[in-house]
């Protein structure tokens, strides 16, 4: 094939912020996605596959300004503005609000797929990135928040992320504080910035220009301290600082959720942070993020959004979480000494186009073994060389009257065996399958193999 000359400068390139994934890394991604989905289904969640793009207004009307500015927009043929999905939550809320509002509540959905945000590619975030998550719609009970938090914790535990933490905030607490302080938009932005940056100096300069009562002063000044793993202490302190019923409701809500989390046995992984005020624009109650050592940014995040479904149909309270697959992969223990390459099959077979051999291959594939067929004639032993070069631990060379099986023994010394007994061959394949599934149960699907 001749190499075509580039017609323009972008021929053969890919746009900024998207990537090709291939070989083992593509497999790891897919496997992680499947592991998470299977985990979600075990908690009673049902699959949903939202469209990849929607009317831009559907998304823009629900997100904050930052999210709106990150939408990837394009025109439909009739001139309407479309946008790639920025998350799955809005689509699921639309689905329930417009079509499934009369189905029994609560409804549980799980999903996995790409979402798109037009951001400068940075720490663990490209323009296309993959999320897997759940939405629990139709319950405002603290048990619902706790379920999503516990599901998040158990998913991370199943992935063998031992030292993760889930940091939980409550939007209402800060909202209530803003209400009580009755700030103008400029002062409000100052306070938000000081809290978001966790900056003592900015908070101090905010306080200087203020005419607050002593109670209000304390509520602002002690807000940065309402963060950490000592939950009872923080809740008690937060309660003393409450200025109105909104703030009080937030504390009661957190206390109720933590009680359920304790029953789930995951409270050890939970920290509180009432200064956590990041908001995609639709969160109304708890917000949370999952953190793990070695990755400087959140692996999963979520929260309660009680007004989102209602913007499409009859109102329904809801809570959900989304895991960032790219970030999660960074946090998972890597198999250190692995050179990149295609996923090696378990067996390479030269068939000699013998129907008995194809029957044997089908048997092996039925056992869950990955079997690749080698083409072309191979001189004696050449197949084993090919197999080794591709990292395949077993090769089967079929001849008219006999089959040669090459295997790497425990001491990594290859050896050849002449096998002309079909029953013995099947037995050998069965052992191989057992070894494979024993070590890494069901490698095609299990997260443990990652």
């Amino acid at each position: 094939m001749t190499h075509l000359p580039a017609l323009n400068s972008t021929a053969g390139q890919i746009p900024r912020g998207v990537a090709d994934y291939f070989w083992e890394e593509a497999f790891r991604r897919r496997a992680l996605e499947q592991t998470l989905l299977r985990h979600f289904r075990r908690w009673g969640y049902s699959d949903v596959l939202p469209p990849t793009f929607e009317y831009a207004d559907t998304i823009a009307a629900r997100g904050n300004r930052a999210l709106q500015s990150e939408m990837c927009r394009f025109l439909d043929r009739d001139g309407s503005m479309l946008a790639l999905r920025v998350d799955m939550t809005i689509a699921v809320a639309r689905l329930v609000g417009t079509r499934l509002h009369d189905w029994a509540m609560p409804q549980r959905f799980c999903y996995a797929g790409s979402v798109f945000r037009d951001v400068e590619p940075r720490a663990g975030q490209q323009r296309e990135f993959r999320q897997a998550g759940v939405e629990l719609i139709g319950s405002a009970a603290p048990e619902a928040d706790a379920e999503v938090l516990a599901l998040t914790a158990s998913a991370l535990r199943d992935l063998h992320l031992a030292d993760f933490r889930i940091v939980v905030g409550q939007m209402q607490y800060f909202d209530g504080l803003l209400q009580a302080l009755q700030l103008g938009p400029e002062r409000r932005a100052l306070l938000q910035q000081a809290i978001d940056r966790n900056s003592e100096a900015e908070l101090a300069s905010f306080m200087q220009g203020a005419t607050f009562t002593r109670r209000q002063q304390r509520a602002v000044q002690e807000l940065p301290a309402l963060s950490g793993p000592d939950i009872p202490h923080i809740l008690a302190r937060a309660e003393r600082l409450c200025l109105n019923t909104t703030m009080h409701a937030a504390v009661l809500n957190l206390r109720a959720i933590c009680a359920v989390l304790a029953a789930y046995g995951v409270l050890d992984h939970v920290s509180l942070d009432l200064t956590e005020i990041h908001n995609l624009g639709y969160y109304t109650g708890i917000t949370f993020e999952a953190l793990a050592p070695g990755v400087g940014y959140r692996l999963a995040s979520g929260g309660r959004y009680d007004n989102l479904v209602g913007s499409f149909g009859p109102p329904q309270p809801a809570v959900g979480v989304a895991f960032g697959l790219e970030r999660l992969l960074l946090a998972l223990p890597q198999r250190a000494t692995h050179t990149p390459g295609p996923l090696a099959p378990d067996i390479l077979v030269a068939t000699h186009n013998d129907p008995r051999c194809f029957a044997l291959i089908e048997y092996a594939r039925g056992l869950g073994l990955h079997v690749a067929v080698a083409f072309g004639p191979h001189s004696d032993g050449a197949l084993w060389t090919v197999a080794q070069r591709q990292g395949i631990a077993c090769a089967l060379e079929w001849h008219d009257e006999e089959a040669w099986l090459y295997e790497k023994s425990a001491t990594s010394q290859p050896f050849a065996r002449t096998v002309n007994d079909p029953a013995a061959l099947r037995q050998r394949l069965l052992t191989l399958a057992h070894t494979k599934h024993g070590d890494m149960p069901d490698a095609g699907q299990q997260g443990g193999s990652l």
Binding site: N198, E200, D273, L291, G296
Partner: protein, 229 residues
């Protein structure tokens, strides 16, 4: 310190900006009683304290916020100017009492004293393109930002730029090059920055460092309420 039900306090990695600010940071840390790098640095890039509780990495100043945002370092010390220019998302709990300077807009001394907004498209040379662009955008001026890596004062002299934005400590460099300070864009000083994840994952150890540094910054530590944790 309240007893946190966390894993044993992991060792903290602190990124310091190479140069004078690193020395000042180490001085402050010594005053705060924090363990300093042990032994002769030689050519090693990561230095450990004697008890291993703190590890230090010396980075290019502009890279410190990057190290900390990615979590490669748990903590860092850098100037507010560098931090704002980098737009990195980190916590910045504590201002530190050194590295005081200001980021200023300067013009040739013979520039007529007219408002900036009268210039239709001024050319501005700077090492701080983001902060400079923000400053002019906020005033509705479409400035042409010329990003340089040093010797910014040279810009107006050789006709590269009409104005410059640069750090000013005493102002003598400006005067020597026939420039005058027109506006202060940012009052800068050193700031302690913390990775957002580490802040929660290593809460106890990090709060301890913040607390000790706070004590060293203020001559008479108040009976602080925010000492908790």
């Amino acid at each position: 310190m309240s007893a946190a039900p966390l894993a044993p306090p992991a060792s903290l990695l602190i990124a310091l900006p190479k140069g004078r600010m690193a020395d000042q940071a180490l001085e402050l840390m010594a005053a705060a009683g924090l363990p300093l790098p042990a032994g002769d640095p030689g050519r090693r890039l990561i230095l450990s304290s004697a008890n291993g509780a703190l590890r230090y990495v010396l980075a290019k100043p502009a890279d410190v916020p990057t190290y900390v945002e990615y979590g490669a370092a748990d903590l860092g010390v850098c100037g507010l100017d560098t931090l704002r220019e980098s737009r990195r998302q980190v916590y910045e709990p504590l201002l530190l009492p050194f590295g005081l300077c200001r980021l200023s807009l300067a013009a040739p001394a013979d520039r007529p004293d007219t408002p900036l907004r009268y210039a239709s498209q001024p050319r501005v040379a700077t090492k701080y393109p983001n902060l400079t662009a923000e400053f002019f955008r906020a005033r509705g001026v479409n400035a042409e930002i010329i990003a340089l890596n040093g010797s910014v004062e040279l810009g107006p002299l050789v006709g590269l730029a009409d104005l410059i934005v640069d750090l000013v400590e005493t102002g003598s460099t400006l005067v020597a090059n026939g420039l005058v300070e027109v506006r202060v864009i940012l009052q800068s000083q050193a700031v302690l920055i913390v990775n957002r994840a580490a802040y929660h994952l290593k809460a106890a150890a990090i709060q301890e460092v913040i607390h000790q540094l706070r004590g060293a910054c203020t001559p008479h530590p108040e009976p602080s309420t925010s000492k908790h944790l």
